[in-house]
Amino acid sequence: MQRNTRRLNAALAAIGFVLVTGGFSHFAAAQDVPPTQAELKEIEQKKPDYSPYPDQHFPNRVFWGDTHCHTRLSFDDGLMGTNLGPEEAYRFARGEEVMSNSGQRARLSRPLDFLVVSDHAEYLGLADLLNNADPDLLSTEVGKSWYDKMKKGGPEGTQVALEVFLSIGKRQELYKSERISRSVWEYVTGIASKYNEPGKFTAFNGFEWTSTPSGDNLHRVVIFRDGPDRVNQVLPISAFDSENPEDLWKYLATYEEKTGGQILAIPHNPNTSNGRMFALADFMGNPLTRAYAEKRARWEPVMEVTQTKGDSETHPFLSPNDEFANFERWDFGNFANPVVPKKQEMLQFEYARSALKLGLQLDAKLGVNPFKYGMIGSTDTHTGMSSFDEDNFFGKVPSSEPSPERWSEAFFMKADKTPAASGWMLQAAGIAGVWARENTRASLFDAIKRKEVYASTGPRITVRLFAGWDFQADEVEAPNFAAQGYARGVPMGGDLKSAPAGKAPTFLVRAMRDPEGGNLDRVQIIKGWLDAKNEVQERIYDVAVSGGRKIDADGRCKTPVGNTVDVPNATYKNTIGTPLLTAYWKDPEFDAGQRAFYYVRVIQIPTPRWTAYDQKRYGIKMADYVPMTVTDRAYTSPVWYTPGK
């Protein structure tokens, strides 16, 4: 005993053990003896890099942001009770406290790195113009009449909102004035300049083009790489100008030609497009052409797959073997009033995984893949506050800011006058992860353009993916993982072409949970391909799971991770799952002659949904059908394989 103590003391002295702060267990408590020289030699050491500077140029960190945030400058917000403007939106995203539209103090748990204030281009800034009695607006007949009605108030005031909504629906632009648009646009770009701090926070110039033919959502968020010197040379294009995406692309091309700047568009979460977002025909109903595919691929590098209005990765009808598919579903129909109900045959043309599959088919037919989309998440908040954390969810519109009633609020009406959607269906999501080196407009924009981005439904899960032809299993553990990944493979969003003889794609994946969030359940690779009969297929492979669970020969782990959520108290424990998962995977069924894509889905352990926090904090009981737990997740942009090019 005495000898042991002496040895332990000697060990401590020899090691020069440093006690850090108190409160957690020390190695000193371990019954260890100093290692022998022989033992030291055995310590696992990986082969170091020859070059000491291998990581000088490739993206080295994830920046988090929201590409889809509305403020009172959007016609629907300004007339429906949103007070927060772009200034407050940037402040909130930068981690500062703001007073919400319903008068509650609000703050993010952690700041975002970037934000796109993407107000609707249609009647941009209308509420401000009316409130300020803008002389240019009042010099138009309709502007004057709206102003007068607003002044009179009561039912006439409400009438203004109705007239505006109706004219948007009917696409009758009731006033068009370059002077008005310019003054509002310069205000918008001016606020962005004020809050854009290279290296610290990126405020992108942007807007939303709100094409909604017959209530089908074809919206696109437009993002500029540039500052006011270029962006102020143009004005936003609106759905009044055209509802046809090809005209939007023309506008984008004209911007680049005119200013020498760069610009891109991100399709809105497609689940309310009633099968139109990824239709196999153009806006006019003609079959897609190669020219169409080239333009779409050129201007729309990524799509929004998850946000407050539900998740669009896939649908149980499309992916019946995917136990994670039935997730935050919004499949009642479109935005028309009353809504046009969803039909099953629409689904394949409006969910992301299916669109990626259709893209392979179109690539084979046209020679270009029009649906070659990377994936991001964003909020589409209409409150000016980008919020996506389950325990800090500030809703979608002012009326869905925290309150004991918000879960039962009705959204959209069916033909029988019953609500199509309700408040509880809102998803506290999403967020865009961008792999880049610097927090600047240029660096982040370029990463979106090359699709080195991914979607999360809220938690800041870090995930990295490389695909190549000759990665080895031990490389995923190697310290030079990223350097080798870039040197001998491609990251998420990249392309593999013409397989070397006898080779199949190999993948290296690392995933790490949110430092302040729930553990990870599993990492999956989702493969889609075009088979010999020209039919699209999909398959899910579990490639890493927590807690030593078994992955069967069919590539699936059938043991669920479990559930530690205490619903009444809205808490969970990280006693299941794991903080970090790594995976090496080689496609076991690769056919070098068939087009394919591969993306990673990271599944977090179940945690309390925002509805559980509401129930606990307000001491209320919601209806039994309201879900109280959520399995948050991240989706990476795919890597595509194309034969013989």
Partner: protein
Amino acid sequence: MKRLLKEPLFHFLVLGALLFAGYGLLNRSVQPASGRIVISQGKIENLRAAFSGVWQRPPTAEELEGLVRDHIHEEVFTREAMALGLDRDDAVIRRRLRQKMEFIVNDLAAQTEPSEAELAEFLARHPDRFRVEPRFTFRQVYLNAERRGDALKHDGVRLLTVLNQPDAKTDFKTLGDATLLSPELADVPMSEVSRQFGEEFTRQLAQLPKDRWNGPVTSGFGIHLVFVEERKTGRLPELAEVREQVVRECADARRREENEQFFQNLLKRYTVTIEQPAAVETKKIAGIQ
């Protein structure tokens, strides 16, 4: 006195006084009992100017007569409506009036650029909002608790020994388990450490001795061995370094303060009684801290 004239608060009070006076007059003039409407020459000029603004030409005599008639119509109805209290329950009118007040205040706040002295004072009063963060240069080796299981502590001790050997030739990057955390961070601000490693780790990092490997440092991911090479303490920057941010924040704060002060001054004229709140209301306020 000169200084006083430049004080925004002074402008404010003067303006406030004018507003009250004006409001008082207005209140008197809307008494329908007075039964008297005077259309002054000035008012007619206003109507003429407004018309010209919209139509880009002066009104004809006939049009002007119509404008005056319409104005009288409006005046009578406004007075009667206000006498009947029709404005009081109207949310749109109330909101519009509130906004008008706020615009006046905001305009006033925006009119004067903050002076150098004011900026310096603002910086001194809010050091935390502009403080240059502490920065760290450090290396870390990560050990995955789940993977190492019971061997975790043993492995940690062994690695620390290796790393702290006086003539250590071992590249630390070749030790430990795979992660997505940077093994080596050069001159990074504390907020960046925190966003990558979490709060728990960052708190410990600030206290580690320099120039040696320390451990275990815990984080949400597991445990780390950490070598701190350099630690720069935070400091209050010179105004010139952060001038732009201070101008932005100072203007914003002033807008808020003046709005609030204006409101508080007005509030003094009222006695506010809040009736016993209903149980639900109390919960709503308490629940969302």
